[in-house]
Symmetry: D2
């Protein structure tokens, strides 16, 4: 048996090749991929701005990490998903795209998310287990990996961002311990930002303010539950936006929680000034090496701000995220963010289109997915 | 009745004047000051590098905020301290030197420490309540202020830093939620640093590493409970010190908690690199406006570090701090950090000496106190 | 100036008398009462089953603690509510009906709710401050008490239960730390139970199960957000109800959180068996002396259940509760639970009717209020 | 290869038999047992008061769960302990004696301790993996089980109770979140009680009160750090003991935390009355089916007590416990609680002696261990 995979052979160029999936070990699962999204970080790799970290020999890899699929083969001994629900071949599932080691100080404490040895690729496509990216027919889950059966009625389009963007923001709000009634500011209304608005709404936030520069996104933010939006084309100066947040948050004197999901380090000082005394700033977006930020620590200190940073998520959050999506699918426009579908063979066109879309000022939140 | 007060009339110059203490309102308390320490921030004011924030008319103020004294007059209705212990005139007490408003979002939530309206001076020495600094015979506690009776057997020398340095670090470790067995690094072994070592020890820290450049301080850090010390004259490069922390913390891969108490923003990136994945960085020392720090947020984010900042403390911590001092007075050399005593009239000499001491490379932790 | 007050002179009998409100001290507020509800505990006092605890001389008291009103007189120095919002005479407000001491170990730690000295009446109606119950024209707030300005558009009917039932359940869910996605069981769908369903929904509970024996209440529970209801007339045995909860909670093996709000101690063992391993049981309803419960501790221990008990609430929760009511007033039928209004003079009839309503098996959640 | 094992063939009677250890699977570890303690629950099984729960066929089992040993065989793929420390054959290790499933809602959330499927025996000694009890030459760790390398210098005697009694109380104090300075009462000064005193001391408890009826134990409690002891032969009535605790805790009005480690349900109401308002009661000892307790819930509710129950511990706590023991071995008399050693062949005599010792009123804390 062989499966197709889109291999990034050099910047801006994928090639469709065929690989045998690995033998399925006891405890392992082979996934038949049904859809893979194109996320911002995939574009970074594609442009050659980032290189995959491999512990094996250098070589090309299969990109794609926002994905869903169905169980193709259950390894010996696997009878349930990670919550104990019966699992059989053909069942639709989601799973984290990163693999904690399970044998370190952090994993031991249940902080899988903080595992210093967790990895995404591990090896080039030439080495076991070959199928380690979403732009392929098969994806291999190492023995003991987390996997969650998905309820009927959630589409591929709705499910692809669950194991990345949605889980990330749900985890961030969990760690920030956003309380019912809290005031929250979300810097950015792209994919992460819209999920964050909806998740904050669902936790009972009392006041949600969304900030962005694209009208269509701000409109979606309102539909997801934002009470107020700030358009950076209207309030052009950080000081104006800070003043607006202070006005809207009234007696609080700022937001209880501010989330950064745009990924520009220059918005951090502005966001820090939007937090109420004793509040929390949550950093999610600035994942690129060289995201240098400069601020006056004494300001932050006298504001007694706590800064929380979150990369990835604890695996149990993915279970919460799937349930959230199922429960709210008719409430928020979250399951309609995918606008374009491409067969795997057209991955080069798909990436060019995604790149172009990302550059449009009027861009909606439009994600393309690939269907192997 | 009038009382002497040392008024800072211009940089580097105090004048002894006399003021009437205010009438003691219902709920208020007039304190007879018995000792006031000279803290780093007092030196900043003295040099003219910082100006007191006043809500009333501009004018000179009385410096001094690390202080202790005895009850001179109890206002009508005051019969107990803030824990309900009987209080009478002549009792030795400690109290926060800052005053939360008690009527805002933060005070309402029990976060007095985060009160945006809390103040230290409020007015120049020419206005009510006159006695609002420690370098004076009297100090006035506004109605409803927090006050704690002190057990017998603690000297003035031991007590003066309780309402500032000691409470601050106990609060910081409380907020960082340092657990029994945790590994902790403390950047700086001055007054705050030594208190932090002893308080971490008392919480059951499994590994305490103290960093400083003065041998005498590092020796005191060992006596306070540090398992290891790092002398920056021996490990001169940040990378060496980070490597040493990683070596000492072994399977943790860094410290669970790192505290910054030196007050130089340039040590922050180094300290952030000493935190284990998922650990906590606590910022205490960088209180001067212009404490600019620059770092790559993506490093902090992928380390999933939480940054906690603490200025001052919640008032109940002062009660914990007094009990701590009483309980451990024979265990750590904390009650012997005061080396010089001056009568209030010699305040100009006292400040000159404190300034000189602070400049010595070989300086021990030697605080001067003033005795009105 | 004198004000009317309904004084309970003996069981089952109120008398309308007139009292002068007390002089308004600095920091105090005199409230003009606009509506007072009849709560279950008021009925207990009325029947003579409970006696008010007084620290002064014995004597009759004014009952009524679920109340709202407008500011009649602001004491000297009061310019804002407890969040810092400007406050003037005529403003509609809510406030806790109990008074923490503010000077004890618990108050010091911001745990006002746990103040051992907090009181409701303190003195009979013959002593200062006379106006200490809701069934009267005036109600006195001691200096420094918590008070919250209410937004326009919330009716007296909606507001009377805010300072008791609604704040209580919001606080209970806060302490139970109910997380988005959690499964929750609420034993009882009376006033507290319906508020609990709505508040759990607003916190993002993933599965809400309401248990009661009155069809009309279960119907309201559904309207407030219950996903499932259990009618004890259909599932008559505790074992059946426990089995149903385990079936509905699926892979969790029980509810993350179970709340008891019926006030019968015999439902506690049943509720404890509905909690998932490691979950939380919250006890609210069993407030009557003699609420004896017997269970096998080893079962609870091997289920690793945490039992949280909550009486009253921390005052800041009242601010959260008012905001919650304002935000959700068009979403849940919570503002329509009051069915009968009586003028203060008809208090005897009002209590007889409330007593009768409480006995009806088909009873809806129908609260009577008194309008002075 | 065969190994000796003491099989409980009927109440009060062990037989030494020989069994082959199982083949060591990938990820599994075979332990050569060096010492196994006799714990109270082993005596219960021995007397026939409790029956092991088996998922396989009924049959005799190997008792013994407080044990330590060295690595005999590492299964394929095992190179480190659960913290990532290198592990080789011959290394001394400790490990939990119970096995979470790793595939359920609780395990998923890192709450291994709450795993409803965790087991101790699983099968009779006639079935794979045979070696599932401590009174044997070999003990088998299933693939993926938690294991911790032990530092040099800790004796068998010191180590046997680590994976049961010590980890249990450290976990209990962790969940109770005992803070530095807190007042704590420990009901019982047997093995668990002494460990609890020392662990509370190490967390910085401000006041530790130990209650027991055996003078020798109370003396050991003092050596472990108790500030006060209550001898139930001197204060014979619960009311006297409650009054003494309230006197000693002064302004707190009771203990912040009370731990029950005696295992008699009748001490629970007394212990609940020793908790300060808003404090925590921790239930550890009442593990026997039929541990019925009766109390008035309204008292607990108006005291706003939280009741925490803990059986076993989260595995990472075992790592903390070993470090604790290493760090404090010269500080507390914890490593000297073992008084008798027996070779495995004399297990029948060992149990008879342990039974006799447990009945002596003057009994010290004296544990017997078996040395295969």
């Amino acid at each position: 048996m062989k499966g197709k995979a889109a291999v990034l052979v050099k910047p801006y160029q994928f090639e469709i090749r065929e690989y045998p999936p690995p033998p399925v070990e006891p405890g392992g699962i082979l996934i038949k991929v049904t859809a893979s999204g194109i996320c911002g970080s995939d574009l970074h790799y594609w442009r050659g701005e980032m290189k995959p970290m491999l512990s094996g020999k250098p070589g090309p890899v299969i990109l794609g990490h926002e994905l869903t699929g169905v169980v193709h083969t259950l390894g010996p001994g696997v009878t349930t998903d990670s919550r104990g629900l019966p699992l059989k071949e053909g069942d639709r599932v989601v799973f984290p795209y990163f693999f904690p080691c399970g044998h370190c100080y952090n994993c031991l404490r249940g902080e899988w998310n903080h595992c210093p040895h967790r990895f995404r690729f591990r090896a080039s496509v030439e080495e076991y287990p070959y199928c380690n990216g979403g732009y392929a027919e098969y994806f291999y889950l190492y023995p003991g990996h987390f996997v969650f059966k998905v309820p009927e009625g959630l589409s591929d389009e709705a499910l692809t961002p669950v194991n990345c963007a949605l889980s990330q923001v749900i985890y961030a709000l969990h760690r920030a311990n956003l309380q019912m009634g809290d005031a929250v500011v979300i810097q950015g209304a792209g994919g992460l930002g819209l999920y964050a608005v909806a998740a904050a709404k669902e936790r009972g936030a009392g006041l949600i303010i969304s900030i962005d520069g694209v009208k269509g996104r701000l409109e979606l933010a309102r539909q997801c539950g934002a009470d107020h939006v700030i358009d950076i084309n209207e309030l052009k100066e950080p000081q104006e936006r800070i003043a607006r947040v202070k006005e809207l948050t009234g007696y609080r004197g700022g937001a209880d929680v501010v989330l950064e999901v745009v990924g520009y380090p220059q918005v951090i000082p502005e966001g820090l000034d939007m937090v109420r005394k004793g509040g929390v700033y949550v950093e999610i977006g600035n994942i690129w090496p060289g995201s240098n930020v400069t601020f006056d620590m004494s300001r932050v200190l006298f504001n007694m701000t706590t800064i929380i940073t979150t990369a990835h998520y604890d695996p149990w959050i993915l279970s919460v995220a799937v349930d959230f999506l199922e429960r709210t699918k008719d409430k928020y426009p979250l399951t309609r963010v995918v606008s374009h579908k491409f067969p795997l063979e057209q991955i080069n066109e798909a990436f060019q289109q995604a790149e172009w879309l990302g550059r449009q000022q009027e861009a909606q939140v439009t994600r393309a997915i690939l269907v192997p």
